[in-house]
């Protein structure tokens, strides 16, 4: 009886040297590719827009945004949730899949973790900016002070402060610990004295001794264990931000799992959006294989279906509740002034991704790239629909209103995309975007007994 062979997670014909060379050369080359320069400049321009809008915001206050009563929470929370959701795929890939011994995670985990960090950084901008006086951000922490200011611990917004800051810290430490042996490889391979010095400092004196490896492995496992609950808890708390309020459209019990599924969905879409151009530009098809793309597409399909289930439950139980406000909220979403956003959301998040049922689509790289962009858009629309349609018409007809984002809203949002891409371009230029160490372990030579080892 034949044993099924899993498709290889690394292209054929590689050995330790070629793997190290292929990945480290991207960093150590003296010639910066023109494409990188162009992309970086584009991203940097958008980041400048972000800095400009932030400056103007500090001068004028949040009145420059479209928010008002009744829609007091607009783009800031939409974008915060969108970015923080994107981060989740990185943590899932690096923590949960590590504990599940999924080897395919290895080639995508590094840049997915970097994506997490940068996405969390972008997400963090919005609550800070929305504060109006961001230099007083530390008032959110419970510290002894003479103003008798104390956070309201019953509010999930306070839980968010802890959830997100823990998430950012653990993600950063996890990512950095994983980088240490690779940075040491770069230190050893670097030609320029400056690079040697810089990577030398970053590698924290790594010499690759057995004891170093032992501690490295232990630390990785412990951090993976710490990060695993964060995959679920962070977005659960984010969903509580809405669901503890009794606003129709926000207060629904399915929000926690539905938000977590949505976060992973958008995160995998973003990993594909980044991975597909990267593997083409840097010829990394041997490391990020078709099989990787196929598996990621399947994860997207699954989480997308959970999300569709959530949408369906919202619609059915809004009717089943027989509650005037619940029923009106759903009708207003579908046929009210923001109906276009709702149906665009259904099309982008539910209908188009059903293409992923077909293997032909999952292995068609341009089409998969298109679907990943569609899902990124859809997940943004989801938060827009949830936030705006629920707030603009709630219980009292006399206090209904409309919301429209201003040019400053759009500039802040696109500005954070610039911030994200700027950080990402710097990352791929100065650090190994795929883990050299882990890729080496995938080689047949890494098993001491070769193919006989289990």
């Amino acid at each position: 009886m034949a044993v099924v062979e899993r498709p290889p997670v690394i292209g054929p014909g590689h050995d330790f040297e070629t793997v190290s060379k292929a990945i480290s050369e991207i960093v150590l080359t003296r010639k910066t590719p023109l494409g990188w320069v162009f992309g970086f400049l584009m991203a940097f321009t958008f980041m400048m827009i972000f800095l400009m809008t932030a400056t103007y915001l500090f001068l004028k206050g949040v009145g420059i945004w479209g928010i008002n009563i009744p829609v007091a929470w607009g783009f800031a929370i939409v974008n915060f949730v969108w970015w923080i959701g994107i981060g989740h795929a990185g943590t899932l890939i690096s923590a949960i899949l590590l504990l599940l011994h999924q080897k395919w995670r290895m080639s995508i985990s590094r840049f997915a973790e970097a994506m997490t960090l940068f996405a969390v950084a972008c997400a963090g901008m919005f609550p800070l900016l929305h504060m109006g006086r961001p230099w007083l951000f530390y008032w959110m922490f419970p510290y002894p002070n003479t103003m008798t200011v104390w956070p309201q611990f019953r509010s999930p917004l306070v839980w968010d402060v802890f959830a997100v800051s823990t998430y950012a810290t653990v993600s950063l430490v996890f990512w950095y610990v994983g980088l240490i042996p690779d940075v040491a490889t770069l230190r050893d391979r670097a030609k320029s004295p400056f690079a040697r010095k810089a990577f030398g400092i970053l590698s924290l004196g790594w010499r690759g001794s057995a004891r170093h490896w032992f501690r490295y492995e232990t630390a990785s496992l412990l951090l993976a264990g710490l990060a695993t609950p964060l995959v679920v808890s962070v977005h659960t708390v984010v969903s509580f931000d809405f669901a503890v309020a009794i606003v129709p459209g926000w207060h629904t019990t399915i929000f926690p799992p539905y938000f977590v599924a949505g976060a992973i969905y958008s995160g995998f879409a973003m990993v594909l959006t980044l991975a597909i151009p990267l593997r083409a530009a840097y010829r990394l098809e041997d490391f990020v294989t078709m099989w990787h793309l196929d598996v990621m597409a399947k994860v997207m399909l699954t989480t997308g279906l959970i999300l569709a289930y959530g949408y369906g439950c919202e619609v059915f139980y809004a009717w089943y509740s027989a509650d005037t406000f619940e029923r009106y909220m759903m009708w207003n979403r579908m046929f009210g002034p923001y109906a276009v956003a709702y149906w665009a959301l259904i099309a982008t998040n539910i209908v188009i991704p059903q293409l992923l049922w077909f293997k032909k689509v999952r292995t068609n790289v341009p089409l998969l790239f298109f679907v990943s962009l569609v899902v990124n858009t859809g997940m943004w629309l989801e938060r827009y629909v949830i936030v705006i349609t629920s707030l603009h018409r709630d219980f009292l007809v006399s206090s209904w209103g409309r919301y429209a984002p201003t040019v400053w809203d759009w500039a802040t949002f696109t500005g954070t995309i610039g911030l994200f891409l700027t950080l990402f371009f710097l990352f791929i230029r100065f650090l190994p975007m795929i883990s050299i160490v882990e890729m080496r372990t995938l080689l047949p030579q890494a098993g001491v007994k070769g193919k006989e080892a289990h």
């Binding site: 659960t236 509580f240 207060h251 019990t253 439950c313 919202e314 289990h454």
Partner: protein, 394 residues
């Protein structure tokens, strides 16, 4: 020619012992029902949902293992498939629930519909005809999916054609979507509508998590019995048990996560249509059942299942699995019984009826299991699964 892996012959003993117990207890409940029909129908609903959870848990897990692959699936597939083949029995056993609509569901009373605007608003969904028609549709869907899963699985045994495996995967993908939708509506009909004002969008998901747990607990308990006998005695390794234990742990966590989300959001919102679920369950003694659930449906199994020394030993994980089956019963008891009784109340039928249906179901399951080899003979992952855990290092 592949090895036979036939089911141990003394599996008949299970049928011979369980069937009479089930039939006698069911007869006793019928007598009890003559004197107290309301209590009978509530106890019967409890029993029915308890057994249905195992059946549909098996059905869902067959599909999950076709899609996810993995050694655990190969080792448990035939046990799960036998569970899914009991769906016709479950359809027959549904008849008393349908007969008991008036005892169970207040929305079936015309005077309630006339006086209660909330119930009247839902009458298009909550009415007797629609209730029966939907139940028929659910059973047709479940049976159809189970039928083809089993048929093609046997075909794979005979031919070993890889195309059959792909066919099974495609069916499982669509089947799980169908299962998710039908199960959500079924649980709305059968349990949520016991309190017709109440609704919760996560309820279907809590229930599916519970079914997954029921399925895994049952299968691990069954393995305990089977692995004392050949052929599984020499095939089942402790690493396979640890994998199964981890999956059971995952479902314990999933059930807790979804249940806690529902509780926190309804408690904090404190809205009249929602809090009606928790108010009766938080007083008059029912809170004790809730605390038992927190302790034994979550905390204790969670802590125990973290330990490899428990997951890897057949007797330990088997005993824990049986305990979890029992606490699945407690969970459904907590859903059903407070809808009828204001004060904490445990009828003898709440225990007898689940044992009755459980006995009949177990007898049928054991009989069904005998029809086929204990392992999928030509599953492409079989060889790998049999090696798994029997070699030293990894």
């Amino acid at each position: 020619m592949p090895t036979e892996y036939s089911v141990p012959s003394d599996v008949q003993q299970i049928t011979r012992r369980a069937l009479p117990i089930g039939v006698v207890l069911l007869a006793a409940c019928a007598v009890g029902g003559y004197f107290n029909p309301d209590q009978f129908f509530h106890s019967y609903l409890l029993a029915y949902i308890f057994v249905l959870n195992i059946t549909l848990g098996c059905l869902a897990l067959v599909m999950v293992q076709h899609l996810s692959g993995g050694n655990w699936g190969v080792m448990t597939r035939r046990l799960l498939e036998a569970g899914s083949r009991t769906i016709p029995l479950m359809a027959v056993l549904f008849i008393p629930v349908a007969l008991g609509i008036h005892s169970l569901y207040v929305w079936s009373h015309p005077d309630v519909v006339a006086s209660d605007i909330n119930v009247r608003e839902k009458a298009a969904y909550l009415n007797q005809t629609a209730f029966i028609v939907r139940a028929v549709v659910y059973f047709i869907c479940w049976w159809a999916v189970a039928h083809f899963l089993n048929k093609w699985s046997l075909e794979q045994d005979r031919t070993g054609d890889p195309a059959v495996g792909r066919k099974l995967q495609r069916l499982s993908g669509g089947g799980l979507v169908l299962y998710g939708i039908t199960m959500t509506f079924a649980v709305t009909d059968w349990l949520m509508s016991l309190q017709p004002h109440w609704y919760s969008t996560i309820f279907g998901m809590i229930f599916m998590a519970g079914q997954g747990l029921s399925g895994f607990s049952f299968v691990i308990a069954a393995l305990w019995w089977l692995a004392k006998r050949e052929p599984l005695k020499s095939l089942l390794s402790s690493r396979q048990l640890i994998d199964l234990g981890n999956l059971m742990l995952a479902f314990v966590i999933l059930w807790t996560y979804t249940s806690f989300s529902q509780f926190l959001l309804i408690w904090v919102g404190n809205l009249p249509e929602e809090i009606v679920f928790y108010l009766p369950r938080f007083r008059h003694g029912w809170q004790a059942v809730g605390i038992l659930l927190v302790l034994f449906h979550f905390a204790v199994p969670f802590l125990l299942l973290l330990h490899r020394s428990i997951k890897g030993k057949l007797a330990r994980i088997g005993a824990l699995a049986i305990a979890l089956v029992a606490f699945r019963w407690l969970d459904i008891y907590w859903l059903v019984a407070p809808a009828e009784h204001v004060n904490l109340h445990l009828s003898w039928m709440d225990i007898a009826a689940p044992l009755a249906l459980g006995g009949i179901w177990l007898a049928t399951w054991a009989r069904t299991l005998q029809g086929r080899p204990l392992l999928p003979l030509r599953d492409p992952q079989l060889a790998q699964a049999l090696q798994y855990g029997h070699h030293a290092s990894h």
